[in-house]
């Protein structure tokens, strides 16, 4: 029987953690783009677009991420399309992230005082100009802390993709456990690595909140 050193375990986990990082980044950036599109549909003028976007957000917020992963992985398989685990993981996480970011950002846009819309309208700006030059610059400032805070949820959400067989940190944890029979050491390390990824994010969210609040104090 092969002996595994502590270093062997850690090295394998860290190698797998790269995929957690990549998957988190892809989900967050992709989710941000889709989320921004949803946001514009949600607050724009068209009634059907608002309903569509709201329905999407409710659907993805109202079902477990795990079910979304299963549907992306097995669902398309029913139609004879072979979906690799990494693709299903990316798609499900992007769509899930988008729903939450769109809703967070909607709150931020709606927190901007009505007077800002009226003042910019009275100066002759159209809807897109108001958005681009007046509303979004202010809303973005409000949005930074909750958005960074939500990125922690995305990092932890990637752990679920282990269930459809994508080898990221959690999946690597079970594989290494099966080989070494040291579950406590392995999962302890897995947890620590997740913490090392998430803690700086939560901390910077807090710091940003304090910093941006100062700039925002009178509004």
């Amino acid at each position: 029987m092969t002996e595994f050193s502590f270093w062997d375990i850690l090295r394998n986990l860290l190698l797998a953690a790269r995929w957690t990082v990549v998957l988190s980044l892809v989900s967050f950036i992709g989710g941000g783009i889709v989320g921004a599109a949803l946001l514009f549909l949600r607050i724009g003028g068209q009634r059907w677009a608002r309903l569509l976007s709201r329905g999407y957000i409710q659907l993805f917020q109202g079902t477990p991420l795990l079910m979304q992963l299963f549907l992306a992985f097995f669902g398309l398989g029913l139609f004879g399309i072979d979906v690799p685990a990494w693709l299903a993981a990316c798609v499900a996480l992007i769509l899930w992230t988008a729903a939450f970011l769109a809703e967070i950002w909607r709150g931020c846009v709606e927190s901007i005082a009505k007077g800002q819309w009226e003042a910019s309208a009275s100066l002759g700006m159209g809807y897109l100009q108001q958005m681009r030059y007046v509303i979004l610059p202010q809303a973005l400032k409000v949005a930074v802390p909750p958005t960074v805070g939500f990125s922690v949820q995305v990092v932890k959400g990637t752990a679920l993709t282990s269930i459809i067989g994508f080898v990221e940190l959690s999946k690597a944890g079970s594989i290494v456990t099966n080989a070494t029979f040291q579950p406590f050491t392995v999962y302890g390390l897995v947890a620590l690595i997740y913490f090392a990824l998430c803690w700086p994010l939560s901390k910077s969210s807090q710091l940003l909140e304090r910093k941006l609040n100062v700039a925002h104090r009178n509004h």
Binding site: A121, S122, L123, Q129, K141, N218
Partner: protein, 241 residues
Amino acid sequence: MSLIAITEVKKRFGDNEVLKGISIDVAPGEVVAIIGKSGSGKSTLLRCINGLETIDEGSIVVAGAQFLPDEVHLKALRLKVGMIFQQFNLFPHLTAGGNVMLSQMVVKKTPKKDAEAVARKMLDRVGLAHKFDALPDELSGGQQQRVAIARALAMQPIALLCDEITSALDPELVAEVLAVVKELAAEGMTLVMVTHEMRFARDVCSRVVFMHQGRVHEIGAPEDVFANPRTPELRQFLGVQ
């Protein structure tokens, strides 16, 4: 010919009819004060002239341009009439100068250099040339309101609408804002202002409109309206018996 022609304008919020057929003509260079109790519809009327509220019946024509609720007509209308708000509504993420420059560059596509020159001129006109780089946060209420006036003036409107522009100010800051408005009036700017400053209305305005329950109750020169109120409602509003 009148610059702003308001004819039989009606406005409802649900079942509540706020404007019950208003007709007012404003000539170029006129300074019109609209007075009345809160809820009499005076702010709503002003917001209708700028297209911030749609009207249900009647018509509003500003310098020959009819008010229609689509983006092209609204923009044309808003380029002719500027609006100043009770809460200033400066853009908090831009400096005083940036506030005055933004709409020139975005709406009129004025090059940045020219927009800046106009902004400096307008800020100078309201006595705030030295605050060009200050953020709204760093200005007093009176200064913020003067920046808002400069911002509206930079679009070169032919008329300005002022919606209780001194109501959110501390008493000692009211005078500096009214001084700017008075100067504009003296320069021949057409002004329609909803105001609670009766003395100002008496001294500066060419006509006073007293609104009551969604109607124009009395209208006339300030000396007549203030000295000889004809209706009991206006007498009560002015506190004379």
